[in-house]
Amino acid sequence: MKKTNTLLIIALIIAIAFHGSAIFFTLESTYDALIHLFFADHYANSWFEPWDYRWYTGFTVQSYPPLVHQSIALLSYVGGLKFGMFSVALVAIVLFITGVYRFASLLTGNRRVAGYAALLAVFSSTFIETLHIFGQLPSLVGLSVLLHSLPEIYLWIKTGKYRYLASCLSLIAVTVTSHHVTPIFGMVFFIFPLIGMVVMDAAKEQVATLRQVTFPIFYKAFKQLFWRIVGFGMASLFLIITCILPYWYNSKKNPITQVPIPHGSRDNFLEVTSSGLVFFVIPWGILLFILPYIFYRFYSKRYLFFGLSFSMLTILGTGGTTPIPLKMLGETAFNILTLDRFTLWATIMALPLFGEFAFRMVEGDLKSKLQERFGGVYHRVLGGFLAGGMLLMVIFTMTLGYFRPSQPAKINMLPIVNFLNQDSHDSWRYLPLGFGDQMAWLSAQTNAMTVDGNYHSARRLPELTTRAIERIENSKFRGIEGIGSLQQFLTVPEKYHLKYIFSNDKFYDPILYFCGWQRLQQLENGIMVWEKLNIPPIPAIIPKEDVPVFLKIIWGTIPILTVLIAFLINVQLSWVRILKSREKPLLNYMKLAVSYKQFSGRLILVSHIWALVVLLCVGIGIYQFYLKNVAQRSASNVVNAYYDALDFKEFERAHSYLDPNAEVDLAQYMLEVSVTDGILSSYAKLDSIGVELIDVKDTRAKAKVYTQWITPLEKVKKDFFHELVQRSGKWYLLPDIVDNDVPPDQLFVANGTTFYNHGRRQLTTQQTHHEDVLKQPVLEILAAKLVRFKGQYSIIGELQNVDDVPADVVVKATLYNDVDKNLARHSAKYHIKHKLMPKEITPFKINFEGIAWASTKDTLPPTFDPDAFTPISLSEQPTKFDLQSAGNVANTDLYKKVSFQSIKRTQKGFDGVLYNSGVQEVTIPQLLVSYYDENHEILWVDHQFLRAGVRVQRKQVFEYDPISLEGLEVIHSSLDLCYVNGLPNVAISEKVFPERDRTHQKDQTQEFRGTGFSYLKFDMNNYIGNPK
């Protein structure tokens, strides 16, 4: 008895020392931990109020069982939220190790074996992954407590003593309140087989050996125990329902009707090897090698039901690799559940038998058998191999986050929190971009609200629930739906009172600029703050969904009560018991220990063969990996490798693929690469690449490279040509031709107007003083038309800043039918210059965009296309519109120094040259092209983002092929319902510009006899990535 305790204690000490210290480095960068921290912060501030306004324009925390969150919240009163989180994590570690110990004792009836199992649990890669990579604290706590409850359930059914019923139910209640999925599936996968085992044990008592247990005997035993089983079943069902009643109430009221979010655990692991690694190889780890032993033992008669459960879990855990999980779970459950939990349960279920294996290997019959058969050295080598493999997996899993960071580097939140607190910035919503799961930590520290959130089951806005994205914050990883969803928030931010964006990823910068946002400042931590003008603050009263008071009370009291009761029953009572009687009777299941005497020889053989197969698979995998990475073996490989290197900005590697005879040295190459800026070189991610080799001669080839790039603005398809040469067996690319153009001046002077707006001149905590509020610049709408083109409705037109100060322009249009029914409303997105100098004119186009894939039945396009556009589906024909434009004084992004050096007609369209005469490097030039009819009436507005930037005093070429406007129909053309800053446009034009000369606009168009139009006008809108 003393010895077994030693193993458990060693296990606990190592667990606390190892995991307890590691969590301080891992937990905060896990996927889930910070979300739980945010929930905890909610409870810490308003224990009984389930509504939280801070995410998703308001959501209820009754959508997740609260125990772990409330525990963290309670502890946070002592030492802050993070103290609470780490304390709960420590408790979870202890609970898990002891839980495995008790589960193993139950299964094997051998304390020594259970000790081994506890020790192995410490190093189990599945536990490490769940805690240190996923950070699933509630799931871990739930599972650990479930493991603790198993022996009590066994004892209740076996002995029928109510003491055990009380203790097992109290533990089930704790499980329920910490995690909802665990008890439900735990019922199926842990408790059902356990009941089967109890019945088997009871049946065995009626005969001499297990072998003699036949089905009739088993059935008889089952009948005897039937009412205890039913009693337990009903009672635990009751607990599952009542303990988290508000949760069920909420699920019923707000059913999860969202597009399923892709999860790696549903992938085909053979195709998506990274998912296979994370969701299969790591959790199984070294267990993969002893699978034959585990299956052999689980399919012995006593464990038969566990065997079935274990097999099911194993198969379910393979995700989309085989079609079986999909068929077993059905479409809905398959798409909602994350299947990694099945693997987690399978590997934890296997731990007792792993402990048994280790016991037999270290000091049991397997040791003697191996030594007898293969000699002592082999036994030691094998043991070393297993132990070494296990440690390797531990190190590999622990450092996974180091080598492949799943999160952006840790962000210092303080400057952001301070920013939100100052100057009433929290009167608007904010949106973090590129924060990863750290956004939850930011939310926890501020009262400001965001439209985003990090608990996707609670999303409410249709803009979010109809997309398979978990957060807008990381929308770039979610392709079309992600960027599409983000664009909706950026284009009509006033709908959500969204004014500030914290950008930690410059990928999003262009989309922010072209949607009309402007940089406000860079915080000390490097986060860029973007703001949008003309956004009303959040009203003082915002709606919430209330729930009955009794549900609030249940939610606020029962979870913590279950812990107190469980503590009282399980710990307190057993202490009393220990104090009262010194001689503790051996627990029922401990009598059923088997003696390990004869390790099956055949099993050893099978295990060896299996291990060889596994090793072979690993070997093949590594070899495949190697083959893929040999770059210069073939002409197409070197092209692929070159683009891969460019994509990851590994210029030194890219340079190594260039022909050494071309004598472009690295410094020269870097110089050439570093000067190229633009949407492709700075903001694009290579999406797909196809290489077509043409003219392949012995040592030379030409390659046509078809590339598709994801950029924040649009999907870019671009073809490149390369010449390749083979030198001494290796293929190389010939370097591209360099533009030798030299700018005229070494140093030149440029004068410009700059503007500065103080904001508040006088310090006040109240609203800004009246005299510090600037007048809104006056705009004039020169033309506005409702047109239908290709089945889409758009409002197009032109407007001018007729004030004397630069203006930021927002244009919003509403469509009406004949009976003035409001049909749709949207704002101008890309087709406008959002910043206008005095007297500058911009064309604009407002597309009425619907919420993409509003119906979940619509098929999602398989590939990425950020430019994809979902026309709104209008139930009725719009016949008129109103147009609301607003100007606000702008003082940034006023760079207008890109000129058209030439626009020449070609057969199809135009060849143009841009020239940058100012002092800023333009990263993404946008061409806005207005189409006019023969009377110079505007018909259409088109845009084109140029792929390369324009450097200072340099040229950049572009091609533009006008589109055909065949079928374009002007439905309504009027300036009657156009408003500027809330005033009628007509009044403005009469007052500010009574003698407008309309020929000026005509003079500036150029003739082009296209289909459906007669004149064109070109305008530039310039995005500067790094303003100087």
Binding site: E771, D804, M837, Y915, K991, D1003
Partner: protein, 408 residues
């Protein structure tokens, strides 16, 4: 709603006013208000004194005005019963209604008119906007003043307010009188741009200074000119266009930052466009010289408002000719040295295009290069161009040269 609540109460009581006056005596009561007050200045302490009240505990005074409503106790002093009205009620101008209540019945009721404290130094709130207007006697900013007594009661209608405005050292004073609580004036803009300061004074109080900017009106027709280093089309010099002083109809320089578009048509039907923003009335914009001879017609616009004269700019060919040399196997084609107008080597970066056609004139390949040190080199490797006869076309600086060559 909370703000209107006292008002509602007031309305209710105004309505009841007549019904309860004179007080319903039940015969046994003989209450008298011993210090009748008709009206007081806001802020003056008021005590209501009564005689004939029987029980001080059951009797209370109900008061109500724009500030609110409350019930006050009575205090006995010698033979009279006194009720001191709290200062918050006394500070609010308007009717102050009171009632003597006993057993929920009104025994006596009346009112006192509280008038604004015109004797003290008043406060004056001012609002002025818009903060910027256009010159030309059409646009205006409005100054609104709200004189109040120290307790924030607006002063009585007809209170005189002096409105002062300063523009370019000229101060104008006008007298306005308050009506509906405010005194206001539209201050019409002048014909010169600048900054106008306004303030107001009421009784002894002067307000802070407020500002509106008078921005110049729209530009009038203007002239443009250009400057450049030389007249040659070398593609590597800057030509700068410049306006004369842009002024509005009143002779003010237009506002800084006004966008001027220079729109250029060349002789070949091509278009060029460049923009400049005015600083002190002058806008400048620049372009590169073309790389081949050209004639530009330049007009500038402040679109909708003003247009310039049209000027003509002529560029002469800078590179008169270029040499082309072939290697022995004809597979290396060297162009250059390209020389400019005084036989100097052209600056790097002149575009040279080589088009390769087969003997029938079918296009095979187009290569673009830029010159370096006046030269550029094209290679025609054997892998792609088998031995045979080809036609080559070389274009640079607006010139085209054709060759027929046999690659070996």
């Amino acid at each position: 709603m909370r703000r209107f609540f006292p008002l509602c109460i007031l309305l209710v009581f105004t309505a009841c006013d007549k019904a309860v006056q004179p007080a319903e005596g039940d015969g046994t009561w003989d209450i008298a208000w011993v210090n009748p007050i008709d009206s007081v200045r806001a802020g003056t302490p008021i005590s209501l004194k009564f005689t004939g009240i029987r029980s001080d505990t059951a009797t209370s005074i109900y008061i109500s005005n724009a500030f609110g409503t409350t019930v006050l106790p009575l205090k006995k002093e010698e033979n009279t019963w006194v009720c001191a009205i709290p200062k918050h009620f006394v500070r609010k101008a308007g009717p102050l209604y009171w009632k003597v209540l006993y057993d929920e019945k009104v025994k006596l009721a009346n009112r006192i008119a509280v008038v604004p404290d015109a004797g003290s130094i008043p406060h004056v709130e001012t609002y002025f906007g818009p903060r910027s207007i256009t010159v030309g006697a059409r646009d205006y900013s409005m100054l609104v003043t709200i004189p109040t007594d120290p307790f924030d009661n607006t002063l009585l209608a007809g209170t005189p307010v002096t409105i002062k405005s300063e523009f370019q050292n000229t101060v104008e004073l006008t007298q306005e009188r308050t009506a509906d609580f405010i005194a206001w004036k539209n201050i019409v803009s002048k014909k010169t741009a600048g900054r106008m300061l306004v303030s107001a004074s009421c009784l002894e109080t002067d307000t802070k200074e407020l500002t509106t900017i008078l921005f110049p009106a729209n530009a009038e027709a203007f002239e443009i000119a250009y400057s450049r280093n030389h007249r040659y089309a070398d593609g590597n010099q800057i030509i700068t266009f410049q306006t004369n002083l842009l002024k509005d109809a009143y002779g003010n320089l237009v506002g800084d930052g006004t966008l001027v578009t220079f729109f250029i048509k060349d002789a070949q039907g091509g278009y060029l466009k460049t923009t400049g923003m005015t600083i002190d009335g002058v806008a400048k914009a620049s372009l590169l010289h073309p790389a081949e001879a050209a004639q530009w017609q330049v007009t500038a616009y402040v679109t909708g408002a003003a247009k310039s004269n049209t000027i003509s700019v002529v560029f002469e060919q800078a590179i008169s000719d270029f040499e082309v040399s072939f290697s022995e196997d004809q597979r290396s084609v060297t162009i250059g040295p390209l020389k400019s107008f005084m036989d100097q080597i052209v600056p790097d970066g002149i575009d040279v295009v080589l088009r390769v056609y087969d003997i029938e004139g079918k296009p095979l390949s187009t290569k673009k290069e830029t010159t370096k040190k006046g030269r550029c080199l094209f290679k025609l490797p054997r892998e792609y161009f088998e031995n045979g006869t080809y036609q080559l076309e070389i274009a640079a600086a607006g010139m085209l040269k054709k060759y027929k060559t046999e690659l070996r």
